[in-house]
Symmetry: C2
Subunit: 221 residues, 2 copies
Amino acid sequence: MMTDGPASAAHTASDSSGKRRQIRPKAERRQQLIDATIRCIAQHGLSAVTMQMVTSDAGLSAGIANLHFESKDNLLKETLRFVAEEYHHGQIKIMEGSDIPDLGERLGALLDFQLGRGVTQRQKMSVWFAYYGEAGARPVYQRIVSTVDRLAAQKLEALFTVIIREGDYRDVDARELATGYSALIDGLHLGLLVTPRELSKRRARAVARAFLRRAFPQHID
Amino acid sequence: MMTDGPASAAHTASDSSGKRRQIRPKAERRQQLIDATIRCIAQHGLSAVTMQMVTSDAGLSAGIANLHFESKDNLLKETLRFVAEEYHHGQIKIMEGSDIPDLGERLGALLDFQLGRGVTQRQKMSVWFAYYGEAGARPVYQRIVSTVDRLAAQKLEALFTVIIREGDYRDVDARELATGYSALIDGLHLGLLVTPRELSKRRARAVARAFLRRAFPQHID
DNA sequence: CCTCGGAATGAATGGTCGTTCATTCTTTAT
DNA sequence: ATAAAGAATGAACGACCATTCATTCCGAGG
């Protein structure tokens, strides 16, 4: 929802479109600032992000972030919530989506989403792991991620359960496999972020596909 | 080397052992400060760590970190290097260690190390992912991690290659499997850090073991 | 016992950041 | 057209942080 529309084209304040003050709906300004925050975290790292950085990247004045979000802490919290929900909603939509009747194909669609263009953008990954890094010390972040994570994990386990029944697979535990698959995807995201030279997106997809093939040989070719 | 010896028992400056100034070898002071940095990152998060925090946690005066490390940036860099090398040296030692002749057992030892007490301590994991979070924006961190990572990946691939030959496994690519296993372990570490409620250490080990069993059924029971 | 090198200290400094709020400006309703 | 409402601005403020360095003091060598 409104993540990369033309409205977010103003990456710098030096827009030649004029310096005239613009009044916009509150929700739009909030999203504009969250988008700017994502860009700043990806470019400079969470620990280097300043309010000046964010507001100037958004092409707005210094005090505006405190106007729409109460504080910097809150802005960062809301940014994490946005990224987390965007990612998990996309996942869940595919998993329960009956528009792909074949379960093997649905699994493939999930994999492509998780390691495809939208999610694997360096920007989003940077944000994702920047917060993970702080999560150990900040229970607020843990709670935000846990909430959406749990729902996605349940959906994945349900999907795996149906596939196991359909394929009559033996010695495969849906819960264990779902945990493993989720962890594998997270680990691959990490590799793509930290060591992009050694792990290409193509290879990441191949690795994830191989994981699923070993568990569900009849469903994945 | 000297990670948790009795020497690092001074977690606060309020040691009743006296306030008398102590002069110690340079290497010892450096390690003392790195240990304090690890504790501070784990407790407060990388972005909240201050020099005051570190030096007071180490029980020393304010300017000492700048004396032994040139700057805060350098202190953080050296701390990452220490954690990365400690982790990867432990791994590599097990992988090439001929003290465990049976390859299946050696694999199990590797798994226990990666998801066992030493590594999975919240402290170490926090540090690990705090830096990962910043790696997207800081090439220095990428280089430190890449260097040690590459060596470990090669050793793991070599070990898998031997196991594949020994078990005569078909349709298993050592390189692909090594990438997958490494990613899985990273992902499990992440789960242990961010959602400890939903993923216990015991279950993480079971998931990793199941991954290996699906690939090398004869070697893992 | 004395001396000297240098390890350790911590008050002081300069700079940066988050936040505030009086003011300016745009929009909507009358 | 005019006024009221409130969105946006940006200079100013106070707090905090990394870094410096004059000073203190330990301890090894004579």
